[in-house]
């Protein structure tokens, strides 16, 4: 479970003007983004054309995290703020804690895909406040404030502010291109009602509900979606099981022989041997990732059409990731050069 600093929720509850919420919603954008590199790295290390079920689970979660990042950005625009995506501090340091976490949090790495990674990191990131025990899983007591509570507090505070919260919104600058996300998930936030719907969507897609592991689209919430990889079977309905669900569907096997051998938390391009193929490949990847953040920044700062450029960059990233992983790690025989998610503003 993401244990977040209770002070953040206190700040939400103390906000009297929409401007008081800008920094907090910016943090939410940063948090929604922060999981993407770690999920992407795991996804990219699956060799193309192999490990399809696992790849599809990872990809589907990544796509929803991107949606959540977009929703949080739209919300900030609706509240009159300006999302800041193109700056070095926007990318967390890996391994390191996710944004908003407090002491007792855990470090999120950049690693090749493995069952252990999914179980100890990904499921921990997505753990709901009260996981539904399916096949013997037990819920732990709630000790800290959670990201779900953060969003809930935000929702409540916007209700309290009412119309006032949106009077400086630049609604036309929101990105609502339904080519990429359906209209019932990505829509213009123009008032408290639409804001509340958007916030609830983020929480439910991530955590499911207290009563069902499924999200509103009848898909397993992220936590349970990942758990399928750990359990090795798909989540299916089972009326005989106490929770109504069981990991008893089609097998999901992670084929370890078709995962690139990337060492955890790869060095940034600047630390690789100067002029080496590894450095070149790593730099092109990091530069492409930075370009993607720039395109997203432009998307949410007055050029919503720039999402098309961002889409191109996402697909290019997939191709360049394969180039990086095909390049031998100069320091470790048999290993791949690693994917480095660092801010690389120039190809220099």
């Amino acid at each position: 479970m993401l244990k977040i600093d209770p002070k953040l929720i206190e700040q939400i509850e103390a906000a009297s003007e929409p401007e008081d919420l800008h920094d907090l919603v910016q943090k939410a954008i940063e948090l929604e983004h922060a999981t993407i590199p770690t999920y992407l790295a795991a996804y990219f290390t699956l060799k193309p054309g192999t490990n399809q079920p696992v790849a599809e689970i990872l990809r589907s979660v990544i796509v929803q995290e991107m949606l959540h990042m977009a929703i949080a950005s739209n919300l900030l625009i609706a509240l009159g703020g300006y999302p800041v995506i193109d700056r070095p501090g926007f990318i967390p340091k890996y391994p390191g804690p996710l944004p908003m976490q407090i002491g007792g949090g855990f470090d999120v790495p950049i690693e090749r895909c493995s069952v252990r990674l999914v179980e100890t990191i990904f499921m921990r990131i997505e753990e709901p406040e009260a996981p539904i025990p399916i096949q013997g899983l037990r819920a732990g007591p709630v000790e800290y404030r959670t990201i779900g509570e953060f969003y809930h507090a935000l929702d409540m505070r916007l209700k309290w502010m009412g119309h006032r919260a949106f009077r400086k919104g630049r609604f036309n600058e929101e990105m609502v291109d339904n080519t990429w996300f359906p209209a019932d998930q990505l829509f213009r936030i123009v008032d408290q009602k639409t804001a509340s719907e958007a916030i609830q969507l983020i929480v439910r897609q991530g955590e499911g509900t207290r009563h069902s592991p499924l999200d509103p689209e009848e898909e397993p919430a992220h936590y349970y979606r990942f758990e399928q990889i750990v359990k090795g079977r798909r989540l299916i309905r089972d009326s005989k099981a106490p929770s109504g669900f069981v990991f008893g569907g089609a097998p999901i096997v992670l084929d370890e022989t078709n995962i690139w051998n990337m060492v955890p938390n790869p060095l940034p391009p600047s630390a690789l041997p100067a002029g080496s193929a590894a450095q070149r490949a790593s730099m092109i990847f990091a530069f492409g990732y930075t370009a993607l953040l720039r395109a997203l920044h432009e998307t949410f700062n007055g050029q919503p059409d720039a999402i098309k450029r961002a889409m191109g960059l996402m697909y290019q990233l997939r191709l360049t990731a394969q180039t990086v992983l095909q390049t031998p790690d100069p320091g470790r025989p048999g290993a791949s050069t690693g994917l480095s998610f660092v801010y690389q503003p120039t190809m220099t």
């Binding site: 080519t179 070149r280 370009a291 432009e298 697909y315 190809m347």
Partner: protein, 682 residues
């Protein structure tokens, strides 16, 4: 005037070109005979036979990147501006990589850059950004580079070329104001359509090498562009090799390539561009610098050229010729350069030097030929290369063309050509045009090939009946010729690949004139007329088109999704719809080769539309309308048969420079040279 004018910002660094090579061989377009091995690397047998397959980089993405490009010199109107080491040139800060592609597998002599966006930066901050108007390289010079042992590097690794184009949609940041040179460039752009001129020279490209895989060196300059000027080359004074140079068609006897100079400030300043001309030398550490030819003397000949007009047209007799040894009384010196044979010189200057013209030379410079002189072995100065005879030359600007033909009637396209005389507009210049026979290009045509694709290499420039090209034209007072040609549906003459490539030869019609460089042709891909079906189906309409792209670009199916599989295409309909509806200037445009007609694009988009999710963007986006044919206008009256255009000879040295290499460009150029040799013989 172009990047040769001041102020000028020079830069140097590396470029990476991840070119795709399955499409290096036109026969790989034939889906009927395509084999999976054509998507794999070529194999060189121990007996040096080659199984070409997918040539040397079948996984290429056509990505073009700039790497470690530093600003190396800023020349302002008042001399050098010191900007420190923090200025760099970057590309694609917020978009996918630019693409480098050929017009067609049967015309690989002018690869084009698409979707390139440049940013001049100081540290991590932008000074100015702009979009490069797509341009193809020209001045392709094989045999320019020697290896560390002094032997010519054969094939593409030994070749060099120049891309010149406009830089538009400029965005200046307040930081740019602090530099007088940038302020002057901005003022120039504000007066001239918001445009600057960017030129990139590439050399030392290699599959593997000291600089990295698929990497070469790039140097270049950013300068002003003036309203009315061509985009893809610098107007000015053109140096030409002798038609009978032993290194023809690429370079003079001293191995200098075609080059350009510019006289400004009422004859007081001469800027000479050696950027793609001086022969190069690779050192043991991989660095590349100009070969040391001894002091280079830039001079003006005292003897003028004689241009006369007779019943059979213009003819020119030069006062001085290439290779001639001159005594000091025969020329006036403008300047001498001795420190050029270093990598740092080339980087710092972009190969361009600016000289103050002394009084004596200024008296001649307006209408006497410029010379580059080298110390002659027996004393005196030998002409290493000279300005074109009579100062006469002509060059097409938009020389790479893509034209959709119509189902009935004719469609026109226009090429802008500039004729110049001593660097000024050449009015009433007679130009001649022709369509020579072309065959055997774009495959290997080599004896060492084994297991080739089981299909023929199509001929080009046929049918002739569907092309209407004037055989001559005369420039206006501004030296400009708008050459309008008309095409009808070629009717799929190549069978397995769309449309036809036509090469139009052009040249000033001047007897005894300087030769037009071999690759200076107008190349146009005329696409087959195509009417999209009302309801396209996968099997009959879509699959045949997409399977060909799937065959030629294996990176798509290996890294993203298969283009030959119905389910994966349908599942990715929204991404494909976006890519197929972008303007060709967008780096994400599909197909990357930019060779699909509007009709076929519309058909694909129609089909994709039924697989788009609810709420997705529909429509044809930037796809042009279907062409509407017209009736062919009557030909203009022809005055007199023009003098034959002068072409450089095709020497054994040219074949030697290209070598037997198995890269696509070399093979294509070998085909081109063989073809040109045949045509000379006819």
């Amino acid at each position: 005037m172009s990047y040769l004018n001041l102020p000028r910002i020079n830069f140097a660094g590396l470029f990476e070109a991840d070119v795709n090579t399955v499409n290096n061989d036109v026969r790989n377009y034939d889906v009927e005979v395509f084999e999976p091995r054509f998507q794999t690397l070529q194999k060189v047998e121990p007996d040096s036979h080659v199984e070409y397959n997918g040539w040397w980089n079948p996984n290429g993405s056509n990505r073009f990147s700039l790497i470690d490009c530093a600003v190396t010199g800023v020349v302002g109107p008042a001399g050098e501006e010191v900007v420190g080491s923090a200025w760099t040139l970057q590309a694609q800060l917020d978009r996918t990589a630019a693409k480098i592609v050929d017009l067609d597998p049967q015309f690989q002599m002018a690869s084009g850059l698409w979707g390139l966006k440049i940013a001049l930066m100081v540290g991590d901050e932008r000074l100015v950004e702009g979009s490069f108007v797509p341009a193809s390289f020209r001045d392709l010079f094989f045999g320019r580079l020697n290896d560390p042992a002094g032997q010519p590097v054969q094939g593409s690794p030994g070749a060099s070329a120049r891309f010149t184009g406009g830089l538009e949609q400029l965005r200046w940041t307040p930081k740019a104001h602090a530099s007088p040179s940038l302020a002057a460039l901005r003022a120039s752009a504000d007066r001239n359509n918001g445009r600057l001129s960017l030129s990139l020279v590439t050399y030392g490209y290699a599959k593997t090498g000291a600089k990295g895989a698929l990497t070469g060196t790039v140097i270049g300059s950013l300068g002003s562009w003036l309203e009315g000027e061509p985009l893809t080359f610098a107007p000015g004074r053109r140096f030409s090799i002798s038609a009978s140079s032993p290194n023809a068609p690429f370079s003079s006897a001293s191995n200098l390539g075609f080059m350009t100079a510019l006289v400004t400030d009422a004859g007081r300043r001469l800027s000479v561009d050696f950027g793609v001309s001086l022969p190069l030398q690779q050192s043991a550490d991989g660095g590349i610098h100009p070969q040391d030819l001894g002091p280079l003397t830039i001079a003006v000949a005292k003897a003028g050229d004689t241009v006369s007009s007779g019943p059979s047209g213009l003819s020119v007799t030069p006062g001085v010729t290439e290779g001639q040894v001159l005594t000091p009384g025969l020329y006036e010196v403008v300047g001498v350069v001795s420190d050029y044979a270093q990598e740092a010189w080339l980087s710092r200057t972009g190969g361009v030097i600016d000289l103050a013209v002394p009084e004596a030379a200024r008296a001649l410079i307006a209408d006497h030929p410029l010379l580059i002189l080298l110390n002659a072995t027996g004393g005196g100065q030998q002409v290493a290369i000279r300005e074109s005879f009579g100062g006469l030359w002509a060059r097409a600007d938009n020389f790479i063309q893509r034209v959709d033909s119509a189902p009935t009637g004719w469609v026109s396209s226009t090429v802008d050509i500039r004729a110049m005389r001593w660097g000024l507009p050449w009015s009433d210049a007679p130009l001649t045009f022709s369509i020579p026979p072309v065959s055997g290009q774009g495959g290997t045509g080599d004896d060492n090939e084994v297991k080739p694709p089981q299909t023929d290499i199509p001929d080009n420039n046929v049918p002739l009946a569907t092309v209407s090209l004037p055989n001559q034209a005369v420039s206006g007072a501004d030296g400009a010729v708008s050459l309008t040609y008309w095409v009808a549906n070629p009717g799929n003459p190549r069978g397995y690949i769309d449309g036809q490539v036509y090469q139009f030869a052009y040249a000033p019609a001047v007897a005894g004139g300087s030769p037009t460089p071999l690759f200076e042709v107008i190349a146009t891909h005329v696409r087959d007329a195509f009417v999209p079906p009302k309801t396209p189906s996968w099997a009959t309409d879509i699959e045949p088109v997409l399977v060909q792209y799937g065959n030629l670009y294996p990176i798509m199916s290996r890294g993203l999704f298969s283009l030959s599989d119905f389910n994966s295409v349908a599942a990715n309909a929204r991404l494909l719809h976006l890519a197929f509806t972008l303007p060709p200037t967008d780096p994400n445009y599909m197909p990357a080769t930019r060779d699909l007609s509007a009709g076929k694009l519309r058909m694909i988009v129609d089909w994709l539309s039924s697989y788009l999710p609810e709420g997705a963007e529909h429509g044809y986006g930037a796809i042009p309308p279907l062409p509407i044919g017209q009736s062919l206008p009557p030909p203009k009256a022809v005055a007199a048969a023009p003098a034959a255009a002068v072409k450089p000879s095709i020497t054994p040295a040219a074949f030697e420079a290209v070598g037997p290499g198995s890269d696509g460009k070399s093979a294509a150029v070998r085909g081109f040279l063989r073809n040109a040799t045949r045509n000379v013989g006819e």
